[in-house]
C-alpha cells in the first residue's frame, strides 16, 4: 500500500480549504458610502447581557430599557438631546399650558388619538390607567418613579406580595395573574383598590394624575423609557401575565409582546438572540427605515471576536444596548491604528464612579465613621492623596474615562457643577500628609484598612492605583479586597459592610433627584441603598424641599446637597465613564447621548 506525496498534500490543502475557501464572504470594511439607501435595511449588532425582563413594570437592566425604548412608548420621551418631548401625550404638562394645576398637584394629560398598539388597538386613557397601576402593583425596581402619586402605597398594599413557588413560574402566575385579573375589572369600573387613588380618566383621551405632594421630578421620571411609565396592552398581557413579554408578535396573537413603538418582537431565542421588525404604518414619526434589527447575545469575553466580526462586515455597530463600556483600551488602540479608525465614536456616558467611606454604619465602624473633626479630617486626607487626573490618564489613558472634577453628577447632565468645581477633586499630597499627622499621628486608626471593589473592567487597575497613591502620599498600606462576585459585592456595599468601597451611579433620567434620593439621606436609607450610611437632618430637609419644587427652583437646593456631601467628605470622586462605539460609516443616524442609544427609527443603512 503506497500513499503518494500528492495524496498527503491534498489532505492538507483540503483541510485548509474547508476553513478558507469555503469561507469566502461578501467582505467587510470601512469605506465610503453613498447617500442612497441600501436594498436591505437590516441592522445587526451584539449585546453582552441576556434580557432580564422586557415587562416595563419589572424591568431593571440598561440593556433592556435601551431596547424597549423602541418597542414601547411613554406619555413623553427624551429626544436625542435629553429634552422631554410629547410621545403618546399631546404635550408636556406645565402650568402655562394648563397641564399642571396652580397648586402643582394635578396633572391633566391629553392623549394623542393617533396612538395605536402594534396589533391595531387604539391607545386610550384606560390603557394608561392600567399600565401605570400595574407598574405600581408589581412593585418592581422602578415602581418608585410613581411614588408621588396619591394612593401609591395603598395600591401596593392591596396588590400584596407574590407567593413563593417551587420553580417561580406558578407563584409568579398567581401574583401577576391576580394583578391582571383585578386591574382589568377595576380599570373598566374606573377605580378600585389596585388603582392608586390619584390616577383616573376624565374621558377616553384625558388622563388625570393627582399627587400626594409637590413633585418637581415626576414628569422626568415618568418619561424614563422602557420602564414603569411605558404603556402596555391589557389584552396582550391577559393571556400570559408572566411571560407575555418574551413571546414574539404573530398575527392575531393574544399573549405576546404588544407595544406602541416603531418596532415589534419578531423572534425571541432566550440566551441567544432576538429579532425585531418595523411596524408597518406605525402611528409615530419619523417612520422607520430599518426593517429589521438582528441582535446576538454574547458573553462580554466575546468582544474581541465581535470586533473581528464587525471588521468582516457581519455587524454594523458595537456598543448599542448599554454596551459602550465593553471595548478595552487595547481594542480601541487597535481599531484606531487600522482601517476602521474613522468608525470609532466616543461619547461620555452618565455614569460616575467614586469611593464611598463608611460614614454612618456603626456596626461596620472604621476610622471614617461619624461627623467628628477627626473622621472628616482622615476622609479628607485620603481624598487629597489621590490624583484624579492621574487616574484618568494612567488607568483610562484618557480614553475610557475622564477625571470626575465637576461633582458627582456627570458632565452634560442637570446638576453638573462645572469643570474643577468639586473641592474633593483636588490633589494636595502635602495637605493630605498634614491631616493624617494631625488626626492619626501614631497610624493606629488607619492601620489594616481595606478597599473593597468588584473585579472586572478597569476596577482592578483603579484599586491598584488608589493603593499606590495612599502608599506614596500617606505612607499607608491599604489592602485590596476584590470580589469577583458582583452581586455579592453590591449586596455588601448597599448594606454598609465596607469601610471603603468602590461606588457609583448610572443616572436613570436627567434630574438631580435621581442621584440625591437614591444614594444618601433618609430616602436611600429607607430603600436600602445608602452605601455610606450618610444621613443628616440638613441634608434630609433640603432634599424634601428640592424634590417638591420645579427644577428651576430646585437646582440651587440640589447644589446645596452637593456642598453638604463635599463638606462632609462623604466620597472621593474618581472618574466619569466614557462610552466607546464602533459604527460602520454606512449606518446613518446611529449614535448615542449621555443616557441612551439613538432610536432605531432614526437609523438607516446606506448603500455600501
Amino acid at each position: 500500500m503506497r500513499f503518494s506525496r500528492l495524496k498527503l498534500g491534498g489532505t492538507a490543502v483540503g483541510l485548509l480549504g474547508l476553513v478558507t475557501v469555503a469561507a469566502c464572504g461578501s467582505g467587510g470594511g470601512s469605506g465610503s458610502s453613498s447617500t442612497s439607501l441600501a436594498a436591505t435595511q437590516t441592522l445587526k449588532f451584539p449585546v453582552y447581557q441576556p434580557p432580564g425582563t422586557w415587562d416595563p413594570g419589572e424591568a431593571d437592566a440598561e440593556v433592556d430599557t435601551e431596547l424597549m425604548q423602541n418597542i414601547y412608548d411613554n406619555l413623553w420621551r427624551f429626544d436625542n438631546n435629553l429634552n422631554i418631548v410629547p410621545d403618546i401625550a399631546t404635550a408636556v404638562p406645565s402650568t402655562s399650558n394648563g397641564g399642571i394645576s396652580s397648586d402643582g398637584l394635578t396633572y391633566t394629560i391629553k392623549l394623542n388619538p393617533a396612538a395605536k398598539f402594534n396589533n391595531g388597538d387604539p391607545v386610550t386613557c384606560s390603557d394608561v390607567l392600567y399600565s401605570w397601576s400595574r407598574s405600581v402593583d408589581l412593585q418592581g425596581p422602578y415602581a418608585s418613579n410613581l411614588s408621588a402619586i396619591a394612593g401609591y402605597a395603598a395600591a401596593q398594599t392591596a396588590a400584596g406580595a407574590p407567593p413563593a413557588s417551587s420553580s417561580g413560574a406558578s407563584g409568579a402566575q398567581t401574583f401577576q395573574g391576580n394583578i391582571e385579573t383585578m386591574l382589568a375589572s377595576q380599570v373598566t369600573a374606573g377605580s378600585g383598590s389596585f388603582i392608586p387613588s390619584g390616577l383616573s380618566c376624565s374621558d377616553p383621551e384625558t388622563f388625570v394624575v393627582k399627587l400626594a405632594g409637590g413633585c418637581g421630578w415626576c414628569v422626568t421620571a415618568w418619561t424614563l423609557e422602557g420602564s414603569t411609565g411605558a404603556i402596555v396592552d391589557e389584552k396582550a398581557i391577559k393571556g400570559d401575565p408572566v411571560n407575555w413579554w418574551q413571546k414574539p408578535v404573530t398575527a392575531g396573537c393574544t399573549d405576546c409582546m404588544v407595544g406602541t413603538g416603531a418596532y415589534y418582537l419578531s423572534s425571541f431565542d432566550a440566551k441567544q438572540g432576538y429579532v425585531f421588525k418595523a411596524v408597518s404604518n406605525w402611528w409615530g414619526s419619523p417612520k422607520p427605515t430599518l426593517t429589521e434589527i438582528d441582535i446576538d447575545i454574547h458573553d462580554p469575553s466575546a468582544i474581541n471576536s465581535d470586533v473581528t466580526a464587525f471588521e468582516q462586515g457581519h455587524y454594523d455597530l458595537i456598543g448599542y444596548g448599554g454596551n459602550s463600556g465593553n471595548l478595552t483600551y487595547e481594542l480601541i488602540q487597535s481599531i484606531k491604528g487600522g482601517r476602521f479608525s474613522s468608525d470609532l465614536l466616543t461619547q461620555p456616558k452618565g455614569r460616575t464612579t467614586w469611593l464611598s467611606f463608611n460614614v454612618g454604619w456603626n456596626a461596620t465602624g472604621g476610622p471614617f465613621l461619624g461627623e467628628s473633626a477627626q473622621a472628616k479630617g482622615l476622609r479628607k486626607a485620603f481624598d487629597l492623596a489621590v490624583d484624579k487626573n492621574g487616574l484618568a490618564s494612567q488607568v483610562c489613558y484618557n480614553v475610557l474615562c475622564s477625571a470626575a472634577t465637576g461633582g458627582l453628577i456627570t458632565k452634560g447632565l442637570i446638576g453638573y457643577l462645572g469643570d474643577g468645581a468639586d473641592p474633593l477633586s483636588q490633589y494636595d499630597p502635602t495637605m493630605a500628609k498634614q491631616l493624617l499627622q494631625q488626626y492619626d499621628p501614631q497610624g493606629t486608626l488607619t492601620a489594616n484598612l481595606k478597599y473593597s471593589y468588584n473585579t472586572g473592567g478597569i476596577n482592578d487597575k483603579v484599586a491598584q492605583y488608589l493603593q499606590n497613591e495612599w502608599q506614596t502620599n500617606l505612607g499607608i498600606h491599604v489592602s485590596l479586597n476584590p470580589d469577583s462576585n458582583a452581586s455579592d459585592f453590591i449586596s455588601n456595599r448597599l448594606t454598609g459592610k465596607y469601610v471603603m468601597s468602590r461606588d457609583g451611579w448610572q443616572f436613570d433620567y436627567n434630574h438631580p433627584q435621581d442621584w440625591f434620593d437614591n444614594l444618601w439621606g433618609y430616602k436611600a436609607t429607607a430603600a436600602g441603598s445608602n452605601t455610606s450610611g450618610f444621613d443628616d437632618p440638613t441634608y434630609d430637609s433640603t432634599l424634601k424641599m428640592a424634590d417638591a419644587e420645579p427644577l428651576s427652583q430646585a437646582l440651587p437646593l440640589y447644589n446645596q446637597l452637593s456642598q453638604i456631601l463635599q463638606q462632609d467628605v462623604v466620597y472621593i470622586p474618581l472618574y466619569y465613564l466614557v462610552g466607546n462605539f464602533v459604527i460602520a460609516p454606512y449606518v446613518k443616524g446611529a449614535g448615542s447621548n449621555t443616557a441612551f442609544d439613538y432610536y432605531w427609527n432614526n437609523i438607516s443603512i446606506l448603500s455600501h
Binding site: 467582505g27 467587510g28 441576556p50 417551587s166 420553580s167 418574551q246 471588521e311
Partner: protein, 323 residues
C-alpha cells in the same frame, strides 16, 4: 449483539448513570445555591423589590426543599426556569444548545478519528520514512499544543489576517453563523475551525496509539499469511490489520470523548458558539442557578451515555468481549 446479557448490562449502566446524575445535580444545586449574591440584585433592584423576587422564585426556601422541587420537575423533563431571562423555560434552551454542541463535538470526533487513524496507519506502513517522521512530528505537536492555542491562532490567521490581506474577500466568518442542529454551508463553515482546533489536539493521541498498534499487528503471522496468499496490500491493511489495531484505539476513546466534551466548553467560548459549553460558563458568571444545574445535569447524562456507548463498541470491534 443485543443478547440478554448485553441488555442487563445496559440496564445496570443506565441505573448507575441515573444515580450519578442525581448525585451530580444535588451537589451542584447545593453549591451554586450556597454562593453569596444572586442573579437579581443591582443598584436599583434591592431591598423590598429584591425580597419579593427571591420569594416569588422560591429562592428564600431551604436548599433541600428547592432541590426537591427541582427534582420533581426534572424527572418530568422540566429543568425549571431561568433566573436571568426571567421565566424562560430551561429545557428547550439546553436542548437547543446541546444540538449545537453535538455538532461541534461530532465534527471534532470526525477530525480526531479521521486524521488520527489515517495518519497512524500511514505512519506505521511507512515506518522510518520521511512520511512517518512528518506524521509523528505532526502528532506530537498536535497533542502538545492545547486546543485553545490552536483556536486562537486559527482566528488570528483565518479570521483576522486573511480578512485584512484579502481586503475582506476571504476569511473565516465570526461569530457562529450556523443553525441549531441543522446542516447547510454556513454551519459547515462555522464548524470547520472549531472542529479542527479540538480535533488536532485529540487526533495526536489517536495517531500515536494507532501507529503503535498497527506496527504490532502488521508483524503478526496472519498478516504475513494474508500477504503470502496474494491479497492486495490495501485489503490486508484495511480488512485484516486495521480492525485488530483499533482495539487499543477504542480503549482511549472514553478519555478522548471526554477530552472533546471539555474541549468544546473552551472552544465554544473562544468562537462564541451558542452551545452548552458556552452556557456552562455564562450561567455560572451570571448566577443563573437553575440553568447551571441544568447544564451540569445534561453534561453528566452525556458523559455517562458516551462512556456506555464506547463500552458497547468494544464488543463490536473485539468479538472476544462479551457482556
Amino acid at each position: 449483539m443485543l443478547n440478554r446479557g448485553t441488555l442487563i448490562y445496559i440496564a445496570q449502566r443506565v441505573v448507575l448513570i441515573a444515580f450519578t446524575v442525581m448525585v451530580v445535580s444535588f451537589g451542584v444545586f447545593v453549591v451554586v445555591h450556597s454562593l453569596p449574591g444572586n442573579a437579581f440584585i443591582s443598584d436599583r433592584l434591592h431591598g423590598k423589590a429584591l425580597q419579593l423576587l427571591l420569594h416569588q422564585y422560591g429562592l428564600d426556601q431551604p436548599v433541600v426543599i428547592q432541590y426537591w422541587n427541582w427534582l420533581k420537575g426534572a424527572i418530568h423533563g422540566d429543568l425549571g426556569i431561568s433566573l436571568v431571562t426571567r421565566g424562560a423555560p430551561i429545557t428547550p434552551i439546553v436542548l437547543k444548545e446541546l444540538s449545537v454542541s453535538a455538532m461541534v463535538g461530532g465534527a471534532a470526533l470526525l477530525v480526531t478519528i479521521g486524521l488520527g487513524v489515517t495518519f497512524g496507519v500511514i505512519a506505521a506502513i511507512r515506518q522510518n520514512t520521511w512520511v512517518d517522521y512528518t506524521l509523528t512530528t505532526f502528532a506530537v505537536i498536535g497533542y502538545s499544543v492545547p486546543s485553545f492555542v490552536i483556536a486562537s491562532l486559527g482566528i488570528l490567521i483565518f479570521a483576522n489576517w486573511l480578512n485584512n490581506v484579502s481586503n475582506g474577500a476571504f476569511y473565516y466568518p465570526l461569530p457562529w453563523q450556523g443553525t441549531y442542529g441543522g446542516g447547510g454551508l454556513s454551519t459547515l463553515i462555522s464548524l470547520s475551525l472549531p472542529a479542527i482546533s479540538i480535533g488536532l489536539y485529540t487526533s495526536g493521541q489517536v495517531t500515536r496509539i494507532t501507529r503503535a498498534s498497527m506496527l504490532e499487528v502488521i508483524q503478526q503471522d496472519y498478516i504475513r499469511t494474508a500477504r503470502a496468499k496474494g491479497l492486495k496490500s490495501r485489503r490486508v491493511t484495511v480488512r485484516h490489520a486495521l480492525r485488530n489495531a483499533l482495539v487499543p484505539v477504542m480503549s482511549i476513546m472514553p478519555s478522548t470523548v471526554l477530552g472533546i466534551l471539555t474541549g468544546v466548553v473552551v472552544i465554544e467560548n473562544i468562537f462564541t458558539i451558542p452551545g452548552l459549553g458556552k452556557e456552562f460558563v455564562t450561567s455560572i458568571t451570571q448566577q443563573d442557578y437553575n440553568l447551571t444545574v441544568g447544564v451540569f445535569t445534561i453534561y453528566a447524562v452525556l458523559i455517562g451515555f458516551a462512556n456506555l456507548i464506547v463500552d458497547l463498541l468494544y464488543a463490536v470491534v473485539d468479538p472476544r468481549i462479551r457482556y
